[in-house]
């Protein structure tokens, strides 16, 4: 696996979609590529997050605490991104991520990502646009839900 493959994976992540290839290459180059064995934790619920994980290969389980103990709520596969909120603002991890298979993961640290944003303001715009779109979609969903609730 080389940088090019990682860039490819990064491009599939919505947050990075609009960013041009050279900058993604730089982001990939300064990020760490880490291998995880099944059962190894990428991060733990409640901890302070300082990096986002992009799954290059393999699958991971997302687990959250419930009153009945820890439960797997989702499974993420190749090219998914986990913990991207952590690289933009300081929030504790909302879930525990555990490797379900052998995994190759690209770890983007918050410091490096913010440094890149500072370096390339265009990149910030792209990220903002993506976030705004997401917000817009959430708002619409909410409105639709309310509307359907009122109808019922």
């Amino acid at each position: 696996m080389t940088l090019d493959a990682e860039v490819d994976a990064l491009r599939r992540v919505p947050l990075f979609r609009g960013i041009d290839a050279t900058k993604l290459r730089l982001l990939a180059f300064i990020s760490d590529r880490t291998h995880f064995a099944p059962g190894e934790e990428l991060c733990r619920q409640g901890e302070d997050g300082d990096s986002a994980f992009i799954i290059l290969e393999g699958e991971a389980d997302i687990r959250v605490h419930t009153p009945d103990g820890e439960k797997t709520v989702a499974r993420l596969g190749q090219h998914s991104i986990v913990g991207e909120i952590a690289i933009l603002c300081d929030v504790p991890r909302t879930a525990t991520v555990v490797a379900a298979t052998e995994m190759d993961v690209l770890t983007v640290s918050k410091d490096d990502f913010l440094r890149l944003l500072k370096e390339f303001p265009d990149m910030s715009l792209e990220v903002m646009r993506t976030l705004a779109q997401r917000l817009e979609r959430t708002t619409q969903d909410l409105a639709a839900q309310k509307a359907s609730g009122a109808a019922a």
Binding site: M1, R25, L26, I30, T34, H35, A37, D112, R115
Partner: protein
């Protein structure tokens, strides 16, 4: 100390000065004949008549007479120049010896200053005094007596000759001397005053530069560089002004001299001419006098130059020496006496007062007694007189009134051979010497050279010469190469036992974990410590075993294997599979190594590595070209620094233009290879290395190793069964690399190594290796806490009957409490004075006193320390 330069010179070199003078005088006839012979040759042999001549009973015709005289001339040239050579060497050597004596005397005086004196002098001023300012004195000493005596003699002879021709003309010849003798010293005085100013100004400059360096972080943190620049610049200007004035005066004096010297011929021509015309003087006599006067000018000029030099050098000497003669300097016997008497009995202070020269550095009317086995806490905030009382007890400070005694003996009169060995002191600020941890810990036992090394042959001769030189210059004859550790004082049979003792103290004072870490990073010579090296190899095998059986652990590490590529190590290491014997050789320089270059070409890898380097450079330029310098990304991640970017852009352009002119030069190729060498495939993932290339690199190892055998042990091959000396102990243990693509691999491996080291009983030896850790300039590579602990171990090592600790381990933390317990246990049955500003400490001590504003305000109830 001698107040004037001449009394110093005369006192220590009168014999040599007389020798110089004698040789100078004796050489006079030779040089005189040498001057006369050419005249004789021209007048007598070439233009003369009346041949044949008889010389020493032999007859000579004109030609053979000429030959004879010429050979006599030649025969005299050799001794004349030989004498000059001998004399110059003799003078130079004398000057250097006197300089050594002077410098040592000055340095010893610095050691004899009382502590409060150091509040008035700074190292920035003292250093130039001992080093550069006295330098000129050395050059002058050889000339000091001989020159004025010789030239003065010549002058007197010439003047006498003129007087014999005609008293009036004689008077004319010396008529300008009284004027010159009157005016020139007056002018010279101005120069002397300016010289003094200049010396002082330069000292201030040196001091300010020194201060700027030691306070450089403050300068940057406060944006004060402008202020310091202005300050220094102003001082430089002052220096310029003074120098300029000195020039003006100097050249004016020169002008005046020349003017007066040429005024005299005017008198000759006027008075002499008049006398000749009147018929009172023959023309021949006038010409002879004028010729004699010309000869007079030489010595006179020399004497004047000498006079100016004396004035200059003497000022330098005096402005230096006056700083080394404080009234209260300790007698020299305090330093040099070597009488290791035991100091026993109670410590008693009787109405002791001391003033440190500033408020808050005083103690008044302090009286106390401390029994030989008593532990006393001395409590007081900073400025309460606590530190002064403790320094008094250590004999570092002399009381202004009252007495400090131990067992009835006045500390102020005892020599350091008693004070410094019987009392251990750790002050509020500790100093760690530049050197190893070991040097620092044993420092308190290095009083005198005790076990000289065995010397044979040339070494022995060189040593004898060193000693005799030291004798000649009143320098000490201590042997710096001897073993100085006083084993007897600490009841150790040999150095090994001493080291064991040090290790026990390091363990007890909580320094062990730190020294262990230093030990892991240390390198050792396996030939010196074969057992230790074997132990490490055993641990390495155990670790490899673990890797073989524990899948989770083996995923963390890539071991060095001769037939496998290590993706977590750089290409250079993979290629060489060896380390340079000199660990200071970096990867950049490796690429330029001729052996490596040749081996690369032999293995057919040279061009491919250049290609890889080129790809790496291309990627770096592409990724980082638009990155600004202050983002820090470049420094953290790139192979190339901001400064190097343009250079590599040029190299890449050259590479594209192909071979031949404008293409890559061998240096460019080396730089590209250097870049490729740094690549760690698992970390950098640039995709420039395919499996074939990996296999080829692994295959090339053999070529390298073959060549390395020839390369005079400049490289040490990685061998699973051998200790690799240039690698750190940690790398030797691991014999591999933590995988860069596993999270926290290094931490996890560290844990395993630590457990293994404990299990295999290697901890102690590794700590021992840590003793060789270099602590940096004045301990700069240690933390403040480590420095204090090192100083504490140094004090405890001394095994002294009296230990005085000031502001050491005085906190409320568990660490400090534990350390206090260790100290008290270690010193059980011996005297301890424990200075702290923290009242809580008194709870742990049966006896305590509290100080405030220089007075003892409280003694703990039940103790017998009451005033």
């Amino acid at each position: 100390m001698e107040k004037s330069l001449f009394s110093f010179i005369w006192r220590y070199s009168k014999k040599q000065q007389i020798v110089i003078l004698m040789i100078t005088v004796l050489s006079y006839p030779v040089s005189y004949i040498l001057l006369e012979l050419p005249k004789l040759i021209v007048n007598d042999a070439i233009q003369g008549e009346l041949f044949p001549r008889e010389v020493l009973g032999f007859e000579f015709d004109q030609i053979s007479y000429l030959v004879l005289l010429c050979f006599v001339f030649l025969g005299l040239v050799v001794p004349s120049n030989g004498i000059k050579l001998v004399l110059n060497v003799y003078k130079g050597r004398l000057g250097e010896r006197m300089l050594r004596r002077l410098r040592f005397e000055l340095f010893q005086r610095v050691l004899r200053f009382r502590l409060p004196h150091f509040k008035k002098v700074s190292s920035g001023e003292i250093i130039p005094m001992i080093t550069s300012e006295v330098e000129d004195v050395g050059g002058f000493i050889g000339e000091a007596v001989a020159l004025p005596a010789y030239q003065g003699g010549m002058l007197v002879v010439q003047i006498g000759f003129i007087f014999m021709q005609d008293p009036l003309l004689g008077l004319a010849a010396i008529s300008s001397y009284p004027m010159q003798a009157y005016i020139i010293p007056k002018l010279q005085k101005k120069v002397i005053l300016l010289s003094r100013q200049r010396v002082r100004n330069v000292r201030v400059i040196a001091d300010k530069i020194g201060e700027s360096i030691s306070g450089v972080s403050e300068i940057h943190a406060n944006d004060a560089s402008a202020w310091h620049s202005a300050d220094l610049s102003d001082r430089f200007y002052a220096n310029y002004k003074i120098r300029f004035k000195i020039f003006n005066w100097k050249y004016f004096i020169k002008f005046l001299n020349n003017f007066m010297n040429q005024l005299t011929p005017f008198l000759f021509y006027l008075i002499g001419g008049w006398l000749v015309i009147e018929g009172n003087l023959s023309i021949g006599a006038l010409l002879a006098v004028i010729a004699a006067y010309k000869d007079l000018a030489g010595p006179w000029k020399e004497l004047l130059a000498y006079y100016q030099m004396v004035a200059d050098v003497d000022v330098k000497y005096q402005t230096v020496v006056e700083n080394f003669d404080p009234a209260d300097i300790y007698p020299v016997t305090r330093l040099v006496t070597d009488e290791p008497e035991p100091l026993s009995g109670a410590l008693a202070m009787k109405n002791v007062s001391v003033s440190g020269g500033a408020a808050g550095q005083e103690a008044f009317d302090v009286s106390l007694t401390v029994e030989p086995d008593q532990h006393l806490a001395v409590i007081g905030p900073d400025g309460s007189g606590r530190s002064e009382v403790l320094q008094l007890a250590a004999g570092l400070l002399g009381p202004t009134s009252g007495r400090v005694e131990v067992g009835g003996r006045n500390l102020d009169t005892l020599s350091e051979s008693v004070l410094g060995r019987q009392i251990a002191y750790v002050g509020p600020t500790v100093h760690v010497w530049t050197g190893t941890v070991r040097d620092n810990i044993f420092y308190g036992l290095r009083h005198r050279p005790l076990r000289p090394p065995e010397r044979e042959g040339e070494d022995k001769v060189a040593y004898a010469r060193r000693i005799s030189e030291a004798q000649l210059t009143s320098n000490p004859q201590y042997d710096i190469e001897a073993e100085w550790e006083d084993l007897e004082a600490v009841a150790c049979a040999d150095v090994d036992e001493l080291v064991e003792r040090a290790l026990a103290l390091i363990e007890a004072t909580g320094l062990a974990a730190d020294v262990f870490r230093m030990g892991l990073q240390a390198t050792i010579d396996p030939e010196w410590q074969p057992e230790f090296a074997d132990g490490i190899l055993a641990a390495r095998r155990a670790l490899a075993d673990r890797v073989a059986h524990d899948d989770r652990f083996s995923a963390m590490i890539e071991l060095w294997e001769i037939d496998r590529f290590n993706n977590s190590a750089s290409i250079a290491e993979n290629l060489l599979f060896a380390a340079p014997a000199d660990p200071s050789i970096g990867i950049d320089t490796l690429a330029a190594d001729p052996d490596i270059e040749a081996a690369l070409k032999e293995a057919g890898l040279y061009a491919r590595l250049v290609e890889i380097g080129q790809k790496v450079a291309e990627t770096m330029v592409e990724l980082f070209a638009n990155i600004s310098d202050d983002s820090g990304l470049l420094g953290d991640y790139s192979f190339i620094t901001q400064d190097e970017l343009p250079e590599f852009e040029r190299i890449l352009r050259a590479a594209k233009s192909g071979t031949g002119k404008g293409g890559l030069t061998p240096t460019d190729e080396q730089r590209l290879i250097g870049l490729a060498f740094k690549l760690i495939p698992a970390r950098h993932r640039l995709g420039v290395l395919d499996d074939d290339m990996r296999a080829e690199i692994v295959a090339a190892r053999a070529t390298f190793h073959e060549r390395m055998d020839k390369a005079e042990r400049r490289f040490v091959v990685f061998d699973r069964d051998r200790f690799v000396a240039p690698m750190t102990i940690e790398d030797n243990l691991l014999f591999g690399r933590p995988r860069v693509d596993r999270r926290d691999a290094r931490e996890k491996i560290d844990k395993v190594i630590r457990a293994l080291v404990d299990e295999m009983e290697l901890r102690r030896p590794i700590i021992r290796a840590g003793l060789g850790f270099h602590v940096g300039i004045a301990g700069s590579r240690l933390s403040a806490g480590q420095r204090r602990r090192v100083a504490l171990v140094r004090a405890l090592m001394k095994n002294a009957p009296i230990t005085i600790l000031d502001e050491t381990a005085t906190g409320n933390s568990d660490d400090d409490k534990a350390l206090r317990k260790v100290i008290r246990e270690e010193l059980d049955g011996r005297m301890l004075l424990f200075g702290a500003s923290n009242l809580i400490v008194t709870e742990e001590f049966a006896h305590s006193i509290v100080m405030n504003q220089g007075r003892v305000v409280e003694s703990a109830p039940g103790s017998d320390n009451a005033e």
